[in-house]
């Protein structure tokens, strides 16, 4: 696809300020996301990958605690210059999020159905039958008994089911971009595969774009079209997933790929990142 990018981010930077001290969380982050495309952002904790994604819809504390610089155009509109009412229409409706830990992202005192319905009531005024929309959203993420689950509270569901409910909530408003922030890190490998298959199917059926934040190169290799590697708030390498996985040029990327134990390739010791970095 060579169409114009759906989302174009240019020189995005986030700086936090606390008791007079400035901390740069990310700087000079630029990328493009086309319709139906998956971009994976990879890096260790603290590399600025989540913060950059949250900055897109300004899900961060406002001034003076946090300063966002740069530009982010969604279909030609600069998200960072929108006012609070306008940006809240983008959040959830055009760019939706799925977070790492479904157990703490869901509200424990409301039913799953209420929480999905809330998103529909806020963003889709044309919908008259909210309950039907909730059931449909739960069916889409392959929940077998959607009526029962809609009446359950988060603690009554397993981790995999909670994450499905989170995805159902994110999809209920037909977003054009889904930001998935380590959606499977807290889950078992078998559940992880189910969730990734589900996201892959939704992307194909709906032509949804996905910004996937992860530190799992296995997911990058099997799922992403493009990949961007971040370290200390900066992008150190980017390109097609295939190219970066097979021919990494940056020593940090090489190190991240080398330190993963792989099935069937038993070594006496695992390569560590610092060993790999000191080689160059």
């Amino acid at each position: 696809m060579s169409a114009a990018p759906l989302l174009k981010v240019q020189d995005l930077g986030v700086t936090f300020r606390s008791s007079g001290k400035e901390t740069m969380a990310s700087a000079n982050v630029s990328f493009e996301l086309r319709q139906g495309e998956v971009l994976a952002v990879v890096g260790e904790s603290g590399s600025g990958k989540s913060v950059s994604a949250l900055a897109l819809t300004r899900l961060l504390p406002g001034e003076p605690t946090c300063t966002i610089t740069g530009q982010a155009w969604l279909d030609g509109r600069d998200l960072l210059s929108l006012d609070e009412t306008e940006i809240s229409k983008v959040r959830g409706k055009e760019i939706a999020y799925v977070f790492q830990d479904p157990g703490t992202s869901l509200n424990p005192v409301y039913t799953i159905g209420f929480q999905i319905g809330e998103a529909v009531r806020i963003h889709r005024h044309e919908v008259t039958d909210v309950d039907a929309a909730v059931i449909k959203a739960l069916e889409e993420v392959h929940i077998n008994d959607p009526r029962k689950v809609a009446n359950q509270y988060p603690h009554e569901l397993s981790g995999g089911m909670q994450q499905r409910a989170m995805i159902a909530m994110a999809l209920a408003c037909n977003p054009r971009i889904l930001v998935a922030d380590e959606p499977t890190t807290a889950l078992d490998v078998t559940i992880q595969k189910e969730i990734m298959d589900l996201l892959g199917r939704l992307r194909k059926e709906r032509g949804m774009s996905i910004l996937m934040i992860t530190h799992n190169f296995g997911i990058v290799a099997n799922f992403a079209d493009h990949v961007q590697v971040m370290r200390h708030g900066r992008v150190v390498e980017s390109g097609t997933a295939e190219h970066v996985m097979n021919h990494p040029t940056d020593p940090y990327t090489k190190g991240l790929i080398a330190c993963i134990p792989r099935l069937g390739q038993r070594r006496r010791r695992l390569t560590t990142l610092s060993e790999e970095l000191s080689k160059s």
Partner: protein, 266 residues
Amino acid sequence: MSTVPTALLEIRDLSVHYPGRANWFFQTAEPKRAVDGIAFTIPKGQTVGLVGESGSGKSTTGKAIIKLAPLTSGQILYQGTDIGRLGNADFLPWRKKIQMIFQDPYNSLNPRADILGILSEPLEIHFPGMSKSDREQRCVELLRDVKLPPEHLRRHPHEFSGGQRQRIGIARALAVQPELIICDEPVSALDVSVQAEVVNLLQDLQEKLGLTYLFIAHDLAVVEHVSDHILVMSKGKIVEQGVPSEILGNPQHPYTKTLLAAVPRF
């Protein structure tokens, strides 16, 4: 059976059942069979890997061995002595030989104690005769063993990263010079880069101190890397066991196959 190296720990027919809750009419529900009649041995100086999904009973197995989960039936033989039915006081000498490393390095360290306090506590219990200065000396050695600088002794858990906290957890387990360490998902919560460092550290310590590990995890690649022998657990039972090349190269049980198919390859 072929010649088996001397077993440090032998588990025979171990079960842990949690009673079902009584309902309004005083009918008791079926008990939850968390661990349901399993048997395996851990040879001295080796690493036995235990894999399975959440709820398969793998953590409960680890906990039952050191009396953190109630035993319903079965025997836990430590060098031939059944330690499964001992009272707390009688169990104390074995708790010195068997230590545990926990999954979550954020919640398994006392946030109000400094590192000296965290590492001294097991020493005070198991070596009551040790002088204060000897204890401090030992804590410094422990930090060196896990490759942390000795000046960290006065810091508190919140000042450390996840990987550093897991090193402190390892140092605490090592403090009483155990023979067997139960590692319950020791690297699952860590970044891949930190994970490699902690796995290497555990292997170095095993070589240096002759430790025996029960390594519980759901990441097959990590388990394959560290283990001499792998147990696959599902719904409270061991469904398959063998050397890593057997289990991964020629899995027999459908659950093992599912588990293998779910690992992303690249």
